[in-house]
Assembly symmetry: C2
Homo-oligomer: 367 residues x 2
């Protein structure tokens, strides 16, 4: 559990350690610098996006615990940009610096079974029906219980649609089990959703909380394509669920909570990301404190500050060769470019994003 | 002269060299990263503000021309964050990479006599009457010509009110000459101004130009205290003067032009800064492309893009111990913190700034 009830704000010029050298680390580092903090990035890539805009960096594998300990000794607080930081790495860092969000958030989000069980039984938020799968026998039984279609998901390392298989009939059961390489998994009841929405929220010192308005997300090929905020509809219920999750995790920092919205308007929590989240990148150009600064404020014990959108924003991810069209975006009015400095263009690789200001009536901006 | 009529846009991932490791370099580096560029900082301070957020840095004196040449070889374009880069340093860099803004902008702005002569005779914009002073005899004669009060200013290295002396009567003449250590100087007729205003403008590839609205500046102890934009009144005339200056300097990049506004509304150009400018820091939170990105766009041959303010902003400099109140600012709604990461708090030292959103009727935002 975290120590947010007693921690005092980090001093000016303190060093924030970030595990991970990707674009989230990059944007966290920039936000940290705005508040006068130094950053130290630890990651496996010597040319990772975060390396270009940090005070200091250490290149190494997450398994090198001596290097991790040295890194943490140089930091006043350590955070992470992705939830698959190994537990032993996090623990090695924690010997020398507080880890925020804490270990429980990390281990919960790393394992779909632990995550879903936490959401259902501890946070008590609505989730799809799910079953623990460790064998083909489990799977056969669970499929009968949940009915068709249903979705088989590996417990670990699934993202952007990887490690998932939709089972539509009895014929798919064996194929699905082979497709996910017989790894420990969960089977989820199919959620016939109307749209995907998310909430970016934060919890800080003394349990103070903040949440941005509801976000509508559209995926293409299982990768986030656009996030639009504020989304139509009222975010109150989704924000309340996010707050329940933050509280029960005794969380410090920014969290992303993804929901399915059903035809009747009911919400089902799909997953949580214990970090800044792609669906929150629009906050950089909404005229308010962005999710990166909000996270830095939370983990350093600063006040979260007020979040009041000045206009709506639509974020579009630039995937693979999309990045080649920067010149076109550069001509567009009210369009803001955020490139990640990745050299190699690969299919499906997140290369950057653009935020476009959209018109939203004032009364619908912050609710 | 520059080569902006023929240069093609820098490629993704290109390296921008910045001479100077201060806060302007810091914010230029962040803007460059947003567009996917790498940065290389050259400056004398191994812990300068820009060093915390750059891809690469070289620490050394501006006089080490071998180091400057090596630095420039690593860069696709070189720019500077302050106008007192020695001419020989600029020339050494230019051997290996284009310098933008060009040498003529630099040498013009380094010397008040050259600058005022350029403004009056080449750009043909209004300036205060001035005289070239190289001796006490020049000064005695010029004082008679311009009348009391008048202002003696060193030709070089004057900023934040340093190197200036107001001559109110005959008794002050010798004192003034001694006070500025008998350096080459100019004597300026006193301008009885109503307020100080400025324009931040840019010129890019093919002579494309852009200018933000009029800014009102208030100084305290000769240091900029607040900049408010858009200022009351119409910026058209000031923007037109800025455009004349950009054109006549064959300029590429962002320029700051400071004006005195007389009681009758007439404008007099006080000085130009061939770089991003403290009075343009509010652009970071106005819902448009900020001056730092605008400069990077200009010097890399990108389109300047459209500049449409979404709201007014007041910038307040945090000088010396002002930085200790960050926690107070962090609680304020619609207030954005920009700290420079400077360790030592010194009287008169620029430690950061805050941008506060202010209400401006929509029709008055962009004119």
């Amino acid at each position: 559990m975290n120590d947010q009830s007693k921690f005092s704000p980090l001093k000016r010029g303190a060093t924030i350690g970030i595990l991970g050298d990707g674009q989230l680390g990059r944007m966290l580092s920039i936000a940290a610098s705005r508040l006068g903090f130094k950053t130290h990035i630890y990651g496996p890539n010597k040319n990772g996006p975060a390396i270009h805009v940090c005070t200091k960096s250490t290149t190494g594998p997450y398994e090198d615990l001596d290097a991790i300990r040295d890194f943490a000794k140089d930091c006043d607080v350590v955070t992470y940009e992705f939830e698959n930081v190994p537990e032993f790495t996090a623990k090695a860092a924690m010997v020398s610096a507080p880890l925020r969000p804490g270990l429980s958030a990390l281990t919960t989000a790393q394992d779909r079974l632990v995550e879903k069980t936490f959401l259902r039984d501890t946070a008590k938020v609505p989730v799809a029906a799910f079953e623990d799968i460790t064998s083909i026998f489990d799977l056969t039984r669970a499929v009968k219980k949940l009915g068709y279609p249903c979705v088989l998901k590996t417990r670990r390392f699934g993202y952007d649609g990887k490690g998932q298989y939709v089972i539509k009939s009895e014929d798919d059961v064996k194929t699905a089990w082979a497709a996910i390489k017989e790894q420990p998994a969960i089977l989820e009841g199919f959620v016939d959703f109307k749209r995907e929405v998310s909430i970016i929220a934060a919890r800080g010192k003394n349990g103070e909380m903040a949440a941005y308005p509801l976000i509508e997300n559209v995926h293409k090929n299982h990768i986030l394509h656009t996030s639009t905020a504020p989304a139509d509809g009222h975010g109150g219920k989704a924000q309340a669920f996010a707050r329940d999750i933050l509280k029960k995790l005794d969380y410090v920092g920014v969290i992303g909570v993804e929901f399915f919205e059903m035809k009747n308007g009911d919400l089902v929590v799909n997953e949580i990301a214990p970090r800044v989240h792609n669906s929150g990148h629009w906050t950089q150009n909404a005229g308010c404190i962005d999710q990166f600064e909000l996270h830095i404020r939370a983990i350093t014990g600063w006040p979260l500050g007020q979040i009041q959108l000045k206009h709506g924003v639509q974020m579009t991810n630039l995937i693979g060769a999309d990045i080649e069209a920067l010149d076109t975006f550069a001509h567009e009015p009210d369009t803001f470019i955020h490139a990640y400095g990745k050299k190699e263009v690969r299919k499906g690789r997140k290369m950057g994003h653009v935020n476009r200001i959209i018109y939203v009536p004032r009364g619908k901006l912050n609710r």
